[in-house]
Amino acid sequence: MSEHPEFHRPPLIDGHKSLADVTRDICAPLERRATALWWWAFIAAVSALLLGVVTVWYQIKTGIGTWGLNKTVGWAFDITNFVFWVGIGHAGTLISAVLFLFRQKWRTSVNRSAEAMTLFAVMCAGIYPLIHMGRPWLAYWMMPYPNTRGPLWVNFKSPLIWDFFAISTYFLISALFWYVGLIPDLATVRDRARPGLRQRVCKWLSLGWDGSFRTWHRYELVYLLLAGLATPLVFSVHTIVSTDFATSVIPGWHTTIFPPYFVAGAIFSGLAMVLTLMLIARKALNLEDYLTPRHIERMCLLMVSMGSLVGLAYGTEFFMAFYSGNAYEQFVFKNRAFGPLAWAYWTMVTCNVVIPQLIWFKAVRTNLALVFVISICVNIGMWFERFVIIVTSLHRDYLPSSWAHYIPSTVEIATFIGSFGLFFTCFLLFCRAAPVVAIAEVKGAMQTGHGGHHESHATGQEAAA
């Protein structure tokens, strides 16, 4: 964050914008009618969501015997999808909280939509354990409250209860962080809107925000505190998700590397999803000046570093299996790489470790089409990572007579498609309902982002006016 005059860094946003330009550009997608592209995407997303609703209703009514599980493979598709979606959420918090603490000003263009992505991804994730409980209408039994069931209280020693607390806290704090960040921007939208529903809703939600510096002064501190709370929270969430596996005595799960490995993997997958969404959103919403190739490049570099950490974890797992001298552990890893699900394992390695290494080449990470392809590969690879961890550790267990294979049922696949429907429906509605870039934060960052306070763009022309 050097503001030394000799240190030149490119502006955070392109196009020599004035403050009013920033407001207008970012509010524009809200104020014009939805494009045909948006409607097609929305119809596709809602259709997928409806498919999901129908299948979820069907499997709750019939029971989770509709899944492809058997007595050997007791966890498969739904826990894979749960971990996949929770992981995607993590990049949003990384960008909004961790990069805020590190004073990375470029995050201001990305953080709003990344936080929204976090919220929607955690919503998608929450569906799976809820259905997996078998009787989702009794989900409130996870809450510790006085009851007549006996044993009276939940088992606080169980990682599954930790998970319940971690995911719900994560969702609530992410929602809070997102909303607090939105308040000044909702006020901006309110003050631009014509009288009507949008203005009334924004007036109500912006809590009478008036830009008073006395409020800003406290607000900034609270934002910093929330970032400070969300940072350890995001690490705790995937750590706790990993303990769902690591505290069991299943070979391939019972390892101490799981918490950092899962956190790195989560952030990796989330960055891939952020990139996928950003590359679409910047085109669809005409925000190329705000989400510049420089933003994409930085996210790419974060992604490749996380991907390399994940690659290191894959290698470490194999080494530890060999080094442990434990025959069961060694078998699991041989089975992963060369067993019946080897295709899934090598898909994972190719997509997560090999392909992202191309990002080291500047020509690749500045080519947005290639970045888009790589981000899709990582999304696929990280889904396979969870599938590999879960299914290959279970399907050939200690007793060869109980070995089994796992094939997802149509119901499971339709539920997964449904969760994408939910995610994209929410994201598309968000693009129409709230500013997708943090207006106030971009304004603050662009004023000091290059050359300090006295070099803001358009100074000359406006002063002359």
Binding site: F156, I173, T188, L207, S212, L229, S236
Partner: protein, 181 residues
């Protein structure tokens, strides 16, 4: 808030900072500044002390952590002890994750509630802005009109060569400021 005041509007952050400095040195009382984004250095000009909301955060977090640790211990070891795999009843490491989540939850919601309470932000509150464009691209400085000495002329004199868009009287209600640009 309805005592008479003068509103000085600026188009740029650096003009605002310069104007605020000059007025403060000339002895004017600055009530508040309305800005589209937090302008750094204004807290010093306005003489704002660091907020005590971090203490609210700390206390809420401590309540969340200690309260949940106590609750987990009480439920698992006192009220209804259950033997889970022969583990000790009062197992502190196993209590840590949930206690930590409770810390974050209470600290987060406690701090934001305190922010809303202290700044009197609530749904349906009427925003009282000195200029309708302070949430867009204008910076408005509100000068307390404590005596007849404080008037448009004296403020303009004190501002000297600072670039100013307008100086107007404000009764605390929203004005439709005639914007020169």
């Amino acid at each position: 808030m309805n005592s008479p005041a003068l509103v000085v509007t600026f188009a740029h952050e650096r003009d605002l900072l310069e104007g605020a400095h000059r007025l403060r040195h000339a002895g004017f009382r600055l009530r508040d500044v309305y800005v589209p984004y937090p302008v750094h250095g204004l807290d010093r000009v306005l003489g704002l002390r660091p907020s005590r909301l971090s203490w609210v955060c700390f206390v809420c977090g401590a309540i969340g952590l200690l309260g949940m640790l106590w609750f987990e211990h009480w439920t698992a070891a006192t009220d209804w002890p259950i033997n889970v795999g022969g583990k000790p009843w009062n197992s502190l490491p196993a209590d840590a994750p949930v206690a930590f989540e409770s810390l974050v939850l209470l600290a987060g919601f406690g701090t934001v509630s305190a922010l809303f309470a202290v700044c009197r932000l609530y749904p349906g509150r009427a925003s009282r802005m000195p200029s309708p464009r302070v949430t867009d691209d204008r910076f408005a400085l509100v000068v307390e009109q404590s005596s007849a000495v404080v008037n448009t002329q004296s403020v303009r004199r004190a501002l000297g060569e600072t670039n100013v868009l307008s100086i107007e009287e404000w009764s605390g209600r929203i004005l439709s400021v005639s914007d020169p640009s």
